[in-house]
Symmetry: C2
Subunit: 299 residues, 2 copies
């Protein structure tokens, strides 16, 4: 009788470039997870912190936090300078994911079917409030990481402005608004507005995933002490990574658009000043193999 | 035929102490309103900023922002050092008020009848998202007020930690959670938990109004450069103001408890070092006449 238990397939192979990149991303991801496990503990009030911990580890993972750490290291910073910001990005992303999935009277049935959805472990009321607690909690982690002796308060405040904008009305929230508008439109509305479904979807992941990942990379570069040119270059790179993630997570790809975005991303590598091994690692993130193979899980 | 138009009753009186205090609070309030009017403008995306501006000026006003400015001035700071923090407190309070009034499947009918409620000018979906944008927007206002030349990044970051804690799981959110638990309990539940309705309500406004006003006063003292002793004393004073506001806004008062809280607040004045005219002004806030007469309106 064949065994029903799962046995991993053992493959012996030389440490290829791709494997080296993969192990880099895995280590970054593990460090963020470790930081979150010690930062998000169940304490009083348990009614708030227990669902908070649940959602921090149950929410889907995106690439903005690992990009934040990698960008910091690429510009010559140390991992610990970016790890709290990366954890904060994950907590805030998880908060916005909860609200996005909240059953409201005017949208219960409108959440696009193609998107990853959430198992509702708690009542809507608890889910609403716990996400309301998570957004400030993420920023609290970051603000309280300021070490007066470290003389980096200015950088932390700059990162806070980046994050609040990306999470708010000029980023994720606008994207979510677009997405719901989009799902509520019928064909006549679209004709009236002169905008196609594809264009609306593009606007959505530009604001949501694009803006969030651009923010992650820019924040890492700021915290690592990158130049303004490096910060803006990594912001653009993060934007392309986010756009690709937006397409992939909506199961729209692989499309020509992904290939186009990859080309744009690789072009950034050519014009920049990071012509060394570290640059190879960070640019490996736009490689489908990396993002798909990793299957990140923070639990 | 009698005129139906409203004519204010003209009363001529000498500028009493109470009037002087009242004009102080009015001027603080007007300055916060003026700052909000120029900081919260309708811009792109209009779908987010228009409801945001609506709610910033439609949400009920509490005393945390004016306390923040008054505490700053009391410890010797300038008004402009605290005005952005005060505006941020109002924006975040407005955000939490919106979510508190959001109709959710498990609480539509459970919002206590005695509380001020909200006219729903937008759909639940818009109200959810706009409040999600307002919390980071409030913190963005504060973070971007940092002037690198001003050398006060450390104070701003400390204030951010204060605010994120007060708004989140250790303050307003816990209070809101309590309040809803409370409204869902029946008498048997209460007997089982060994907690009375009065005790639950007390816990609620301790966390919500108490914590928020304590935060407002402490933040003002931090930004104005107060000593640790002054910061903690003003935090306690703010807590009493918030407790009184919590009782008054639930239309539970006037009760013996308010008198007790007033006594505690005035006791703080005796033991502190602010034995001058400015102290008289800030302590006038616990006087019912001031809080009731003002009828603050930011519009």
């Amino acid at each position: 009788r064949p065994s029903l238990s799962y046995r991993p397939m053992m493959v012996t192979m030389a440490m290829s470039t791709s494997n080296k990149n993969k192990s880099y991303w895995t280590s970054v991801h593990e460090d963020i997870g470790a930081h979150l496990r010690q930062a998000v503990v169940v304490k009083e009030p348990v009614e708030v912190y227990e669902p908070m911990r649940h959602f921090v580890f149950a929410a889907p993972v995106n690439m903005a936090p690992v990009l934040c750490v990698a960008a910091c290291e690429l510009v010559g910073g140390h991992r610990e300078q970016a790890i709290v910001a990366a954890a904060a990005l994950h907590v805030m992303h998880a908060a916005s994911f909860i609200h996005e999935n909240l059953p409201l009277s005017d949208r219960t049935s409108l959440i696009p079917k193609s998107k990853p959805t959430m198992y509702h472990a708690f009542k809507p009321n608890t889910e609403l409030l716990v996400a309301d607690a998570m957004l400030p909690f993420g920023l609290e982690l970051l603000a309280s990481s300021d070490n007066p002796a470290g003389n980096n308060s200015g950088r932390i405040l700059r990162v806070m402005v980046e994050m609040t904008r990306a999470m708010g009305s000029q980023g994720v929230v606008e994207g979510q608004y677009n997405e719901l508008q989009c799902s509520q439109c019928d064909d006549d509305d679209r004709k009236l507005n002169g905008i196609t479904d594809v264009e609306m979807t593009y606007e959505t992941y530009k604001k949501k995933e694009g803006r969030l990942h651009a923010c992650g990379a820019a924040c890492g570069a700021i915290l690592g002490g990158g130049s303004e040119k490096e910060i803006e270059l990594l912001r653009r790179y993060g934007f392309y990574v986010g756009m690709i993630q937006g397409i992939v997570s909506r199961r729209l790809g692989p499309t020509e658009e992904i290939e186009e975005l990859k080309k744009l991303a690789f072009k950034l590598r050519e014009v920049n000043s990071f012509n060394d091994e570290n640059a190879e690692v960070i640019f490996s993130l736009v490689d489908d193999n990396i993002t798909h193979v990793l299957g990140f899980n923070l639990g």
